[in-house]
Symmetry: C2
Subunit: 214 residues, 2 copies
């Protein structure tokens, strides 16, 4: 599948590499055409990788990944034309983390709203599926690095879109995918981040994840 990955940070790069490894073609998108991280990544990632501005990556992708920083996600999507977003699935892995007030990080939106919902409201015909935001990127793309069973949560308003995302997550190695319901459940998924940050500090590693014991 052709997949557009929005964002050139470590999350976008790691997910982009993994998607190529799984046989997909990836265009990474950035705000500017001369983004060094994006150009270097595309060169290193081989013939299935390319780089462009956000609008080009959105147009390229049959499916999109939002790997921009949460505070920049809405403005990044403004660079794409509605026609290049409408009816596509966007997997939103971003968290609206704000480090400007120091640590622990706070959320720029939470409690009565979420980044996932904001993106869905701004782009009503985009099929937003919140996923993979509750673990480190190394765990996102290689869940087998965490020992034992553990879970990835997804939510979104479109059942077919969630089935598509579930298939892709299964390709990535995810064995337990919990569909929490509509996109309002992104609140809980994003509000899990402060606990994740506390746990990271306590455990001294990024390689852990939530498991729901029943």
């Amino acid at each position: 599948m052709n997949i557009g990955v929005l964002g050139t940070g470590i999350v976008g790069q790691t997910i982009g590499h993994r998607l190529i490894e799984l046989g997909h073609k990836v265009m990474m998108g950035s705000r500017t055409a001369d983004n060094r991280a994006g150009l270097v990544w595309a060169k290193a990632a081989g013939s299935s990788a390319s780089f462009g501005v956000y609008g080009e990556a959105a147009k390229f992708g049959e499916m999109l990944f939002n790997c921009t920083s949460g505070t920049g996600s809405l403005s990044a999507l403004e660079f794409a034309k509605a026609a290049d977003l409408n009816n596509k699935v966007l997997i939103d892995v971003a968290n609206p983390l704000d480090y400007s007030r120091g640590t622990p990080a706070t959320l720029t939106v939470s409690n009565t709203d979420s980044l996932g919902e904001q993106i869905q409201r701004h782009h009503p015909l985009l099929k937003v599926v919140k996923a993979l935001n509750t673990m480190n990127v190394d765990v996102m793309v290689h869940p087998e690095r965490v020992r034992g069973a553990h879970d990835v949560f997804i939510c979104g308003n479109d059942g077919v879109a969630k089935a598509t995302v579930t298939k892709l997550l299964t390709e990535m190695g995810w064995e337990s995918i919990i569909d929490l319901g509509d996109i309002t459940n992104a609140r809980g998924m994003e509000m899990a981040l402060p606990l994740w940050i506390s746990l990271q500090k306590k455990l001294g590693t990024n390689i852990f994840n939530f498991k729901i014991a029943k």
Copy 2:
């Protein structure tokens, strides 16, 4: 140990019963001396149980449990004298849940502050330990009802207080207790509630809990 349980709802009643079962003496506290739930509970719970107003329960307890609703916790503690709170351990199991705007519930404090921190700030000599707020009350007092390994988080500023709470949690059956650090970590613990609520709806049961897989 003599333990004061503030709050006469299902959480206070269930924890009170369990503490008595474990050999402790419990005074349940309420705002008014004629609280029917408290009087009925104390009568049913036997000779180790008693009931009084918040100030009496605070005075009685060598250790206190805050089982009031999160929105009423600060005002409940105002009924106690400083001398009956100072240097005591208070286990804060409450969540600042607000259902007044319907479901999903929102938090009355979150992100940049937490109920645990608010209680600690209002009563600087009280040793607040946030604990047991991330699972249903039946799981709180009988963790063995959830199959497999799972975790309870605690946080607070006083190491001796956390050791005391850890001992009590162990008595209750908890095998994995994760100390997240100081009381600011109550933010993450309380912000886990929206995800818990989503999971409850999805799973159709209260009998589940978070496990940190590593």
